[in-house]
Subunit: 366 residues, 4 copies
Amino acid sequence: MVGGGQGAFIGNIHRIAMRITDHYELLAGCLSSDPKRNRSSGLDIGLASDRVYSDYKDMAKAESQRKDGIQAIVIVTPNYLHFEVAQTFLQHGIHVICDKPICMSSEESLQLLRLSQQVQKLVFVTYNYTAYPMVREARERVLRGDLGPLRFLKVEYTQDWLATDIEQQGHKQASWRVNPELAGIAGCIGDIGVHAYNLAHFMTGKIPSMLAADLVNFIDGRILDDHAHVLLRYSSGARGILIVSQVAIGSENRLSIQIVGERGALEWQQQQPDQLHYHAHGEATQILSRARHQSSPETSAISLLPAGHPEGFLEAFALLYREIATCLLDGQLVDTLPMIHSAISDMEFIEACVKSSQNNATWIWY
Amino acid sequence: MVGGGQGAFIGNIHRIAMRITDHYELLAGCLSSDPKRNRSSGLDIGLASDRVYSDYKDMAKAESQRKDGIQAIVIVTPNYLHFEVAQTFLQHGIHVICDKPICMSSEESLQLLRLSQQVQKLVFVTYNYTAYPMVREARERVLRGDLGPLRFLKVEYTQDWLATDIEQQGHKQASWRVNPELAGIAGCIGDIGVHAYNLAHFMTGKIPSMLAADLVNFIDGRILDDHAHVLLRYSSGARGILIVSQVAIGSENRLSIQIVGERGALEWQQQQPDQLHYHAHGEATQILSRARHQSSPETSAISLLPAGHPEGFLEAFALLYREIATCLLDGQLVDTLPMIHSAISDMEFIEACVKSSQNNATWIWY
Amino acid sequence: MVGGGQGAFIGNIHRIAMRITDHYELLAGCLSSDPKRNRSSGLDIGLASDRVYSDYKDMAKAESQRKDGIQAIVIVTPNYLHFEVAQTFLQHGIHVICDKPICMSSEESLQLLRLSQQVQKLVFVTYNYTAYPMVREARERVLRGDLGPLRFLKVEYTQDWLATDIEQQGHKQASWRVNPELAGIAGCIGDIGVHAYNLAHFMTGKIPSMLAADLVNFIDGRILDDHAHVLLRYSSGARGILIVSQVAIGSENRLSIQIVGERGALEWQQQQPDQLHYHAHGEATQILSRARHQSSPETSAISLLPAGHPEGFLEAFALLYREIATCLLDGQLVDTLPMIHSAISDMEFIEACVKSSQNNATWIWY
Amino acid sequence: MVGGGQGAFIGNIHRIAMRITDHYELLAGCLSSDPKRNRSSGLDIGLASDRVYSDYKDMAKAESQRKDGIQAIVIVTPNYLHFEVAQTFLQHGIHVICDKPICMSSEESLQLLRLSQQVQKLVFVTYNYTAYPMVREARERVLRGDLGPLRFLKVEYTQDWLATDIEQQGHKQASWRVNPELAGIAGCIGDIGVHAYNLAHFMTGKIPSMLAADLVNFIDGRILDDHAHVLLRYSSGARGILIVSQVAIGSENRLSIQIVGERGALEWQQQQPDQLHYHAHGEATQILSRARHQSSPETSAISLLPAGHPEGFLEAFALLYREIATCLLDGQLVDTLPMIHSAISDMEFIEACVKSSQNNATWIWY
C-alpha cells in the first residue's frame, strides 16, 4: 500500500475491505511522506519492519526482487501522486489497484494504459459504488433490455461537508481536495462527480457524446468547483443530467440514480443500498431487495448477508476486492470490474466539464 | 365558469375547491363548445337554465348587465382560449380567475395586465401548488433569511402519463396538450414546467437572469416537448436546475423542490405535502409538520385540519380560492396570491426555454 | 346538525365533507348549548334565522312537521349526547348520521338499532377511515382471498396530544374526552381505539372472539385510559394486536394496519393514504397507488383526483357522505357503509376492553 | 471456533466481524460434527491441520495446554450445544464468546455464570443488534434521561422465511430451529424474540416485572411458536409490547423499537440503521445520523465510516468483537458489552413467555 497512514481516511477503508474478503495479505507499505508517521503507521497495521519503506520507488524495486514480494500495490495517496506511483509499480511488474480518479488527466491515464498493456499487468480503479449488489441488479436489468431503449437518466451525488471554508481552518481532507496542485483541475466534479458519471456509465453501458457543464464554487478563496450541474446528450437522442455538490446542506453523502427507458424505469439510492425500485410501464412499482427471491441469482451470489440484514459501503468495497482477487488469481477478467479503460473516459469527462464550464457552460463534444 | 364541462378534469377541481371554502356561488357558465354538452353540464352543476350560455361573449355581456351578475369568472378552457376569454370578461368589468398558463405568450399576458390595470379588475392565476401550507412555511423561512443567501435550488416535476403515444389513441386530455395550436409553443415545459418554475419563484422571491434549456420529445409524431432539462443562473451567482418530464415512468405526479442557502436548506415534495425537511448547517435535520407546534402560526391558520390528518391537493386549491375570495371581498391584496404579474414572468420563462432549446440549448438572458 | 358550533373541531369537518360532495344542503341546526353561540354559529354557516334552534327536541319536532324539513340529522356533539339526540330524531322519522362512538354503551346502541328498525330510518356512523380509497382497495383484496386465510393483523393508532395534562389547563377538546361523564367508560380506547378496531373489522370482515386489554393512563388525575395494548384472538386461530395511545410523543395521528395471511400481506398507513403495500409470498413488494392502473376500477371510481395528486382526510370523509347521500336517495345500502350494526360490535369491544383491563387484563370472551 | 463449518450461516458472519476488527486470529476449530466437512472447513478458513479437532473436548484440552493456545472460543453451534461446549472451555480456562441464546434454560445459564465466576473467565453473548452505533446513541439518550421516565415501549422483530413449511422440505437452517431438541422450548420467541427483548433491555436498562405472552404457530406439524405477542409491565407502571414473527410475509428482517417517555421519544429501525428519530415533546422531530455533528462523540468514535456511508449488520457485529477484544486485552469491562448476566434474564424471559402462553397467556411475574 502506498498512502493510507495514520489520519488518512480511505486507506483504512481499503484495508478493511481486503480483510472482509480474506483474500489479501498486507505485506509492505509506504504509508506516509512523513518518515516517523510512515514507520509507526506500518507497524500499526502489522507490517514487518523491513517492509515499511520510506520511498515508494525503493519499495517497488525491493518488492519486485523478493521471492515473496507483493503481487499488487494499492494506491491511496492524494490524486496528484496516483500516476507516478502506478507507473513505478507497473514498471516493476506489479499489478495496480488505485483509488479514483486514476490520474490528473486523460493523457496520463492513456499513458498508464499503454504501459500496463506493455508490461501485461492490470490496473484496477476502485469505483466502489459499482459494487453494491443492487447496482449490479439494476445494471443487469438495463443491459438485458428490461427498460427498453434509454430515454433519460438523472444521477445526483451531493454532500455538505464543504459548505463552509473548512480548508482554511486546517481540515486535512478538505485542504488537498480544494488545492489544484494536489487534486487536479477539478474539485467536486473530480472528487465525486466522477463517481456519479461512472455509475451512470456502469449501469447503462453508455457514454454521452455531448455535455454542457456549469461548474461553480460558493466559497470565497476557493478555486475549484464545489457544485456542478451537467447536461448530457447521448448519440441515441437520450438525455442525462448530473448534479454534484459538496455544499448541499443536509445531504450527508447522497448518491442516487434514476434510469428511464421506453418501457420501464429503475431508481436506486445509496441511502438504502439494499433496495431498488423498479417501475414497469403500466404496472405497480416493485421494491426489489438484495438477496430476496425477486432479485437475480447473481445478486444473491455476491451478497455477504441474507435479505434484510443491511449491507453497506464496506461490503460493496469488499466485493470489488473479492473480484479483483479472483481476477488476479484466475487471470480472468469480468466485465463488472472497473479497469483503467473506463477511467480514461472518466478523466475525459472531467476535462470536458472543465472546458465547457470555462467556456460559459456551452455544449461540447467529447 | 368558462370551460369545465362534462369529461373535463380541472373544471371540477375548481368547483370542489370553491365549495370547500364556502365563499362562492356558481351562478352562470359556458362550459362546453358543444351546445348539448354545455346545456347538460350546466344543469348538472345546478345553474339556472337561463344562465347557461352557449357563447362566452354573450355571457360576459349579459352577466355584466344583471344586477345579480357574477363578480368573477373562472376560466378553465384549453390554454389557447385563456386570453380572449379573460379579455372579454375584463372588458365587461368582471374579475378573472384563470388556470395557468395565463396566455399563449408573454405579449398576450402583458396586454392582459394592461387591460386589467385600465379597468381596475383583478386577474388571478391558479398556481395551486403555492398554496400548500408547508410550501408557505418554506417560503416564509426562505424570505426571512433562515437559509442565508441562496446558493442553489433544484425543482423537479415529473409525470409518466405521456410515456406512450396516447394522444394518437384518442385520449382527450393528451390530445390538446400535445397540439401546438391548442397548447401553445411548449409541451411539458408549458404544462408543468411552469408550475415548477413558479414554485421556485414563489418560495425564493427570485427570478433567474439566464437559462439554458434542453427540450426534447421522445415519441414519434409528437411536436412539443415531453421532457426538459433547464439550467438556471441568478444574478447573485446562485444556480438552479429544473427537471420536468411527462415520460418519466414510475413518476405519478412528483413535484419536489430543494433550496440550499449558505446556512441551511429546505426540501419539500408534493407526495408528502404536510411535511417539510429543514436542515440548519451543523444541526440535525428537522421534520416540520403542518399545524404542529414547530411550524409558524400562519401555517396553522391556513390549515383546514389539525396535524397528522393528511391534507392534499384539493385543500391547497381551496386555500387559493379562500384567499381570492378574501381579496375580492376586502379589496386587499396579499403577496402570496398568484396574480397576472408573475404569470408574465412565467410566460417569459417558457418562451426563453423554447428559444434556448431551438438554439441548441445555449444560454440566453431573459 | 346538532353540535358543531364555533370552536368545535369535528362539526366543521362534516360540513366541508358535505360540501365536497355537493349532495347536501344544511338547513337547520342546534349547534351549541350556549344560546348566543348557537345563534351566531347558525348564522355563520348560513342557516335561516328561524331554523337555528336552541333545543334539539324542538328542532326534531319542527323540522319533521315542515314540508321542506330536513331529511337527515348530523350529530357531532360530545359522546354522551349521541344517544338521546339520535333517538329523538329517529322518533320524528329523520335519518341519523352520527359521529363515533355511536353511544355510551352497547345497550344503548342496541336500543337505537331497534328503534331505527321500528321507524324504518337509517343510522350511519361516520367511521371516516374506512373511506380512504386504498383502505377500500385493501378490503377488496382481503375479502376476495388474495392473502389467503388470515394469520394475524396489527393495527395501531397513536397520537401525542394528551402527553401532558392539558385538560387541567382549559383545553376544551381534551376536557370532555377525559371526563367519564361526557366521554363514557373509555378514554383513548373509546376515542381512537374504536377507529382502529373498526378498521380491522372493515378490512377483514372478521370480529375477534377473545381479547385481553391492558388499559393504562399516565397522567396524574386522569381517570380514563390514555394508552392501551389489546391482544385479540379470532375463532379461526388468527391473532391480532391493537395499540392505541394519546401520549405517544412524536406520533401526530398515526393510524396504520398490517394484515398477514397465508399467501400474502398488506400494509397501509394514514400518513401516506394514497399508497398500499402488497406483499405476495415469494414476490417483490408492490406499491399500489390510488387511481393508478394497478388498483382496482372501484378504487379509481371513488377517487376525486387522478393518481399522484394527494387526497387526504377530507376526501375520505366526503366519500362517506357521498355514499350516504346515494343510499338516502336510492334507498340502496352498500356494504362499505358504516351502519349502526357494526357500531354495536364496536361498543362491545370497548366494554370488553374495559372489563378485561379492570380484571387485570385477563382474556375474556366477547 | 466450535460450529460454523461449510454451509452454516452465522459462523462466517462471526469470522468476517473478527477480520474487520483486525484483533483476532483464528487458530483452532471444531467446525462440524461430520469429520470430513470439519476437516475441509478448517483448512478452508486457514487453520493449521493439527488444530482442526474432531472433538471439541479434545480441542479444549489440547489448546489449554499449548503455549500458543487460543485465548477465547467462539461458539456458533445450534443452541442445544451452547451449554456443554461453553462449560468445557471455561473449565479449561478459556474465555467464551457465544451466540445467543446462551443456553437452553435459565438454570443452565446460571450454572455457566457460576462456573465463569469460579474460573474467573468471561462469557460474552453476541447480541449484535446492541452494537449498532445509533442503538448506542439511543441508549445513551434514554439512560441520561432525555426522554424522562419511561411510559411505554414497543419492540418488533418480524421475518417471513418460515411462512411456509420449508422445514419439511429439507431446509437446514429451518430444520433445527423448529425442532425442540435442538432449539429449545421456544421457536421464534427464542430465536429472534430474545433479540428484541434484549434490545429493549439494553436501550432502557429496565427489565419488566410481569408479562402475558400469546405464542402461536401457524404451520401444520410445527411444534414451536413461529409468532408471538407479548405484553409487558414494568414495576414503575410503564408498559411494553413485543411482537415477533417468522411468518410475517413481506418482513424481510424488520427489527424496530419505539421508546416513549414523559418528555420525549426515540424510534429506530434496523432497515435504516444509521438513523434515529428523536421527538422532544413540543418540538420538531429530529433525524439523527450516525457520525454527524448532532450525534454524541461516542457514536462517532465507534463508527467505522463517516456519516452518509451506510454501515450495516457486519459493522455492528464487528464493533461487538472490537469491544470484546479490548476487554480481553485490557481486562476492563464496559457496560455496553453483552455478558452472560443479561443472558440469564433473557432466558428467564423465554421461559416466562412459554409458561404464560401454556397457561392461556395469563399474566405472570418473572
